[in-house]
Amino acid sequence: MVESGQKPRLLRASFVGAGLTCSLLAFSAAWAQTPAPAEGQPPAAEAPAAADATPAATDAPAAADAGAAAATAAEGQTHGQRAAAEAAAALAAGEDDEPVILEAPAPNTRRVYINDSAHFGSLTQQFVIDTDAGRVIAITDSGFLPNPVLSDDGSVYAQVSTTYSRISRGEREDYVEVFDPVTFNPVADITLPVEAHRFLVGTYPWMAAVTPGNSTLLYYQFSPAPAVGVVDLEGKAFSRMLEVPDCYHIFPTAPDNFFMHCRDGSLARVQFDAASDAEPQITHSAVFHPEDEYLVNHPAYSQKTGRLAWPTYEGKIYQFDLSSGEPQALNTIDGLTAEERADNWRPGGWQLVAYHRPSNQIYMLVDQRAEWTHKTPSRHVVVINAETGERIARHELGHDIDSVAVSQDDDPLLYGLSTGARTLYIYDAESGEELRSVNQLGHGPTVISLSDMN
């Protein structure tokens, strides 16, 4: 284990400050953002002139918050144009350039983390985005196929990651890195022993999770035998491996309890004692799906309510309430109508389902596709009442979307991530209207993570 500060990481400027420095301006402009609304956008050449209309910017201190800057920006200005105007105004006012390392704003319900696993690249990145502003506010670096892990209170942002002594060969080291979610400095770096190496797989969000209360991080090991690694986040140390049956994914419900999905079609409940070496207590639910019904790799799970929504390849959605510690089967619903299914509508994508806890609604990516094309992107999202199965909406997303997520506030944003376009599209969840987007998100971003802070 390495103490905080021993392994300095490059912190990207987070744009939270008012952007008074030329270097920041140049960097900021490199991130092309789609303004909203598109019409009325002044040409870039007019940006300095616009600065005259925003004298407030010249009063802003170097660490002024983004909200203040946004409030003074002319409607339709891009972030780059606004930064240019502010810098021009600061220069005109004779202000000195004081370069500083910025901090991100406090985490909120509108912050998302975009995991770019870079098509199995050895080195990867996570983009931290303020989706209200449509801006990248931080980037963290990571190794091979990292698993991002977030707590619902926003305080824990960790990655279970893997590096090698020579980029992609040599000695392998697996570790858990925990970041301060404002400074993005690492606050813990916990080495996992060789026998506790993690599962290297295209990123499935629920292959790692933090338990309620944030005391423990759990991650999955596939080989040589199914096991779950226990990491003590408070003591900043690896604890031990738990031997588990032939089951996959980790859905924690308590500091000492989680569920998994098993090869035989059951759920396994795993109770463990984090403080001892006692064998975990494992019980199985009844088998809940037949062998020829394939459950996708990216179910939606609300840790706050213990609700699990798990689609099949054909759009049937199994649901459970795990909150009591006993797996309680809820109504199985059809995400697609009989007519749609007859017309080749099927779910597809990567993270293809999201659950909005406050409204109890399920969002699922769907499109017309052949069987066995379940990993190609979709251009539609259906919104379903999780209680009744009733269809609420089907939004046309206007892009090839691989992953979907929804902010957990009462007036949610819908997020659609395009791996091919490397762009996060941000929609109004109710209307499906595209509000803004953030592009240049690495090489092949696939996973959207967020906290349920509502």
Partner: protein, 131 residues
């Protein structure tokens, strides 16, 4: 595979086994050939474990020290025989993948219970008991 080639393979395997890293392995088990052999060439006296439908059959065999177990894969899905670290050696041991109608033979030299699994299918588990 000609006889000469097979002999060379066998000698290579023995040479590898004799190297320091596999000394402990050489004590507890001996591997007949590193590469899988045609099923028809399984040693006549070997105890046979068939592999089919993602299972080892039988899942448990009991033999005497010095006896050989031969695994025969009867399906197109490749499978192997692998031991976790500490079972036959300090390090883990992953046997070669067998395609359909290929075999892999191990002689068990010491009494003990040897749990094994298939590397890409960790849910395929079975055991050899030597007593």
């Amino acid at each position: 595979m000609t006889f000469a080639t097979k002999t060379r393979t066998l000698l290579t395997a023995l040479a590898l086994t004799a190297l320091g890293t596999q000394m402990a392995l050489a004590d507890k088990i001996s591997i007949l050939t590193e590469a899988p052999a045609p099923a028809a060439e399984a040693p006549a006296e070997a105890v046979i474990v068939n592999i089919a439908k993602m299972k080892y059959e039988p899942a448990e065999v009991t033999i005497k020290p010095g006896q050989t177990v031969t695994w025969i894969n009867t399906e197109a899905m490749p499978h192997n025989v692998a031991f976790k670290a500490g079972v036959v050696d300090d390090a883990k041991m992953d046997g070669a993948m067998m395609k359909k109608e290929q075999s892999y033979s191990i002689t068990f030299n010491e009494a003990g219970s040897y749990d094994y699994h298939c590397t890409p299918h960790p849910f395929m588990k079975a055991k050899v008991i030597v007593e």
